[in-house]
Amino acid sequence: MSYYDFLFVIEVLVGGLLSGVMYSLVAIGFVLIYKTSGVLNFAQGSMVLFAALTFVSLVERRVPFALSLLITFAVMVALGFTIERTVLRPLVNRSPMTLFMATLGLSYIIEGAAQLIWGTQVHGLDLGIDDTPFEVGGVLISSFDLLAAAIAAAMVAGLSAFFYWTRIGLAFRAVADDQFAALAVGLRLPRIWGTVWTAAGFVALVAGLLWGARLGVQFSLSLIVLKALPVLVLGGFDSILGAIVGGLIIGASEKLAEVYLGPFVGGGIEGWFAYALALVVLLVRPSGLFGQKTVERV
């Protein structure tokens, strides 16, 4: 392998790792909700779409950038608490599968509503980030991807700090640990769930802005949920660290496979490769790399 081949491998690898961060960004939203309520929230993708569409439509109506951001966040807060009130509360104590199917229904509602309100056309989203690749030691790196990675890192740091040093963060962890015990010591579950869904809405907003700037804001944005799912199972549903590591692994191996394996099978394998990879890992570790192992009792 020549030097240039080597450089090419590195470039593919770095590109893959950075796009993996974009997957993690979506996966974190899932983890937040799964950790505290045991719900696999299929609607996360449609929340990404909803947030991005709301933001971009506000900006297009000449609302200032910061104000749009604030309004969108307020909308996501309202959405989070509405979901808690109308969907989660009536379904409390039901099986996780029931809740999952409810979020499937929820994703139809949110997708439909987002496009009904704001229309179905594709919106361009310019965050004012300039996307010129720059060179480090002969390897081209996209500055946009790098910034996205930095934002993701900042968000994870922020979330971790929030979880460890605030009172509500402590309550989150208590609920994640044992819902009944948390209820018994007087934590208000509805409020906590509402807050968690809000936090997930915030993550969806960030993911929506970055992905929207990348792909344009349109219906297909909600399909990134399908990109995040293998990341999620690979890392384990209840680990933020798992979401990050899973994203990096999936991103890197997906790009490498596309370049080196793709030509042998006719290409286009990115649709299922991540799933196959996640499956292989799962066969060895059935609850993902960092997921909590469940102990089953009769």
């Binding site: 009536p90 199917m101 139809y108 509602i109 399908l226 799912l229 549903f237 089953e296």
Partner: protein, 349 residues
């Protein structure tokens, strides 16, 4: 002796019960083979009954896996696609294969596929499994589009369904296709009904309700799960054949996408999990709902809204219905039906 006498005394009552029991199936039979072929319009058959029958069968199959055995699958339409394409290829490449043979072979192909993608279920639980069934969904769609062999190297990838005939009788007319569908669905549903009332069916339920407990009392969990995947995929595969051959009249990978998988899942949620009747009620609901909503939209608002708006509103209504059913009637239309029957029964007596 006393027991025998008691039995003899009960006999006349049993006759009444038997008649009551046979009344509904007989009525169904008369409607399915007498009334519908004779009176139903082409539109009713083509636009409502054919998709209804294919989707019902797919829902029966998924219900076996998800409703009875508790293994959530998000890849149903992949198995439909395997069935449809297998049938197309068997029909194309095997000279003189009768239609029934083609369908059974297609079902077996889908079943083999189902077992392969069911293997992870031996290790994985719950959502981890559900996500891994998505692998089947994306892999199958990719393979069918990528390799031209499956669609006989047709450049567009869209192929028309072959001529349908049983024992020299052509079934290409709408009525013929309807009769083929309805017969297939009835036979398979009867088999499934037998299965869920057998020991195997009870094993399915035991695995669903508590896998560890099932293992403890001696249910062969691994074999039961794989069997559920195999039989469910067999049925869904044949449903795929019906969908492609009798309803769409074309075979194309794009029709078997994730939305179709969700649609089948929605059918069994709305109809009622672990209920065969529920699969049919749910399918009827899902097939008729969009037609009803678009008529209603046109009636209420005229041409005020374009089809895009209508489409979005349908999505919202469907999503809301799912949630409402999960909250208010977790056992679905099937339970609603039961309650209605009881109420009518108590009023008349």
């Amino acid at each position: 002796m006393a027991v025998q006498a008691l039995d003899a005394a009960r006999l006349p009552v049993d006759w009444v019960k038997l008649v009551q029991k046979l009344a509904l199936p007989t009525a169904l039979f008369v409607v399915a083979y007498g009334v519908v072929p004779a009176y139903a319009s082409g539109y009713l058959v083509e636009a409502i009954l054919l998709p209804f029958l294919a989707l019902s069968l797919a829902a029966v199959g998924l219900n076996l896996l998800t409703g009875y055995c508790g293994q959530l699958s998000l890849g149903s339409s992949a198995f439909m696609a395997v069935g449809a394409f297998a049938a197309y290829n068997f029909n194309l490449r095997v000279e003189g294969l009768p239609l029934a043979g083609t369908m059974i072979l297609a079902g077996i192909s889908a079943a083999g596929f189902g077992v392969v993608f069911g293997l992870p279920s031996l290790r994985l639980r719950g959502f981890y499994l559900a996500v891994s069934t998505l692998a089947a969904q994306f892999f199958v769609q990719w393979a069918l589009t990528k390799f031209g062999w499956f669609s006989n190297d047709n450049p567009s990838g869209v192929i028309s369904a072959p001529h349908l005939a049983v024992a020299g009788l052509s079934l290409d007319s709408a009525t013929g296709r309807y009769l083929l569908s309805v017969t297939t669905v009835m036979v398979l549903t009867a088999l499934v009904w037998r299965l869920v009332n057998s020991a195997t069916g009870r094993n399915f339920i035991a695995v669903r309700d508590n896998e560890t407990a099932a293992r403890v009392i001696g249910v062969p969990v691994l074999r039961t799960k794989l069997l559920a995947f195999a039989i469910s995929s067999f049925i869904i595969g044949i449903a795929g054949v019906l969908w492609a051959f009798t309803y769409l009249r074309t075979v194309e990978p794009a029709g078997f996408n994730l939305d179709r998988s969700f649609q089948i899942l929605f059918i069994i949620i709305i109809g009622g999990l672990a209920s065969i009747r529920g699969a049919f009620l749910g399918a009827a609901f899902i097939v008729v709902l969009p037609l009803f909503l678009s008529r209603l939209g046109a009636f209420l608002f005229g041409g005020l809204f374009d089809s895009g708006v209508l489409d979005m509103s349908q999505r919202i209504v469907l999503g809301a219905l799912i949630i409402i059913f999960l909250i208010a009637e977790p056992s679905g239309l099937s339970a609603l039906f039961d309650r209605l029957k009881r109420r009518i029964g108590s009023r008349s007596s």
